[in-house]
């Protein structure tokens, strides 16, 4: 039943066919962008690695043999071993889970929060807008890592608190974007039309305003993933994120710092993972922007 012609039908017969057709067109446009596909491949790889970490990792991520410490990369230990004799490849593979956990949790908390605050602020305007945007600006004006540091210092170190701290520092950007988007169409005829039908403010915002803010926010979240990973790594590096012996990439770099000159692989391997995954999210986000948000397209 699901054929190319069925998906490409200009005159779909049912709601489901219309939705499927739209999604298919989006996917087709995206698949024509090679860089976005590279990004997608990296993200899929990250998902697969995180899902099957225990089976993929050749050794335990937390237990090592001290006799085996600081071995360079070899056929036995592809990425070498660290100062406690743990296999770095296994630690990087398990670290993918932690990274994914942080990134997803931050996105799930901060994006909806920012979207709603921004849309409400832009939709109502007036003093609601002034109060909410004042608050947003205060958060925006502080450097992200410093603010996150302060929150972790107050809440105590640990992954959950790092997530909360990063989420608290990430939402203002989305609020700004959502507000700017909302302002461009809050006086539009199509919004007036639903108001005239007697729709409540909550309904107008939820069903008519938010969907229009969604695409630019999704794009922005994807592009921000790299920043979130780096902030999480930064917190880990400073010892305020994941606690040992958890194989968080930032914390691993931090540990490897002392051997950077003689045993370069200890810090470089997790660093390499951070760079690749960040790059993957960036490329994918860029491609997504071209497809979802034709106005901001880089090429003319």
């Amino acid at each position: 039943m699901i054929s190319r012609a069925w998906l490409m039908d200009e005159d779909p017969a049912t709601r489901a066919q219309a939705r499927a057709g739209q999604a298919w067109r989006l996917a087709r446009d995206l698949s024509r962008n090679p860089l976005a596909m590279v990004g997608l491949a990296i993200i899929v790889l990250l998902l697969v690695v995180a899902a099957f970490a225990p089976w993929l990792a050749p050794y335990s991520p937390t237990e090592g043999m001290l006799t085996n410490r600081l071995q360079p990369p070899s056929a036995v230990h592809w990425m070498g071993t660290d100062e406690l004799g743990r296999d770095i490849l296994s630690r990087v593979i398990h670290g993918a889970r932690i990274t994914l956990y942080i990134v997803l949790l931050v996105a799930v908390i901060s994006a909806p929060l920012g979207l709603i605050i921004g849309a409400v602020s832009g939709y109502f305007g007036g003093w609601v807008d002034r109060v909410m945007m004042g608050l947003t600006d205060i958060f925006l004006s502080m450097p992200r890592l410093i603010l996150a540091l302060a929150f972790v210092a107050a809440l105590g170190p640990g992954i959950e608190n790092a997530v909360i701290a990063i989420a608290i520092t990430a939402w203002p950007v989305y609020a700004r974007i959502a507000r700017a988007e909302t302002l461009t169409f809050r006086r539009s005829d199509f919004i007036v039309a639903v108001q005239m039908q007697g729709a409540s403010h909550a309904r107008v915002i939820g069903l008519h305003v938010l969907p229009l803010c969604m695409s630019s926010t999704i794009v922005r979240v994807t592009l921000d993933m790299a920043g979130i990973i780096l902030t999480a790594a930064g917190l880990g590096f400073l010892g305020l994120g994941a606690q040992p012996p958890l194989p968080e990439w930032g914390a691993m770099i931090s540990k490897g710092r002392s051997f950077i000159l003689d045993q370069w692989w200890v810090a470089t391997m997790p660093g390499f993972a951070i760079v690749v995954v960040s790059l993957g999210f960036c490329l994918f986000g860029d491609g997504l922007r071209d497809v979802l948000d034709p106005r901001q397209r880089s090429k003319g």
């Binding site: 200009e10 005159d11 779909p12 017969a13 049912t14 709601r15 066919q17 219309a18 739209q22 539009s188 005829d189 199509f190 007036v192 039309a193 639903v194 108001q195 005239m196 039908q197 007697g198 729709a199 309904r203 069903l207 008519h208 969907p211 229009l212």
Partner: protein, 243 residues
């Protein structure tokens, strides 16, 4: 059906309407004519509940319009906008747009109602799941009219409904509006600068200038080119291209 008395509207420090009064009978089609800045669109906005700072009295179907209006009251007055490109939600299909008012008011039989409305405005059923960008200007305007009629309103506010359309499409939409008005006993309040359109679609007209009603006349006066006010005659002359 519509009664407006001494309506004054301010936008910040400037007053855009100075005590406008007029009344439209049940089933009548009434035109507000004037240039931009005459305040004609502001009257529609006020009736639509889109203006905050107003004074005077407005009523529709005998019920006075207050600042907080009920859902049932809202359904009585619907609007068709000038720009067919900006009046439809860009991410919602025709079906979404037409089902929305039914969902808001919790009305049953959505599929049947949407389909019969598509037939009524002369839009083929195969367009039902299209997005606005897959429709032409005329088709979009048909969707906008269908949306306005979903709740079976008594009054339709028409804000230059054909001025953004091609000539041949304008004729189709004007015919449609005229037919729907006869079929459903609608009352029209039309805002336009196009006098021939008034002549085709309306029974009476009011000429506005700088926020005041200059003249109210039956449309026969317009057809005879016998408007009484200087300004009315000026508009007539301009419309016929004699500067």
């Amino acid at each position: 059906m519509i009664r407006v008395e001494d309506l004054t509207v301010r936008y910040g420090p400037s007053t855009v309407l100075h005590g406008v009064s007029f009344a439209v009978a049940q089933g009548e089609s009434f035109a507000l004519v004037g240039e931009s800045g005459s305040g004609k669109s502001t009257i529609l906005k006020a009736l639509a509940g889109q203006v905050d700072d107003w004074s005077g009295q407005m009523s529709v179907g005998g019920a006075p319009i207050t600042r907080a209006r009920s859902r049932a009251q809202a359904a009585q007055v619907q609007m068709v906008f000038q720009d067919p490109y900006g009046s439809l939600h860009p991410r919602r299909t025709v079906d979404d747009t037409l089902s929305e008012p039914l969902a808001i008011h919790g009305l049953p039989d959505r599929d049947a109602r949407v389909l019969s409305m598509l037939d009524a405005v002369g839009l083929a059923r195969r367009f039902r799941f299209r997005l606005p960008h897959q429709l032409s200007g005329g088709q979009r305007q048909r969707v906008a009219i269908a949306r306005a009629l979903m709740l079976s309103p008594k009054v339709l506010l028409l804000d230059e409904p054909t001025s953004a359309l091609d000539v041949s499409v304008q004729a189709e939409i004007l015919n449609l509006l005229k037919r729907l008005r006869a079929e459903q006993g609608l009352t029209f309040l039309l805002v336009t600068h196009d006098l021939p359109v008034v002549s085709f679609l309306c029974d009476r007209l009011a000429v506005l200038r700088a926020g005041r009603v200059v003249e109210t006349a039956p449309v026969a006066t317009l057809r005879d080119r016998a408007l009484a006010s200087d300004y009315g005659r000026e508009l007539l002359a301009r419309s016929e291209g004699t500067p």
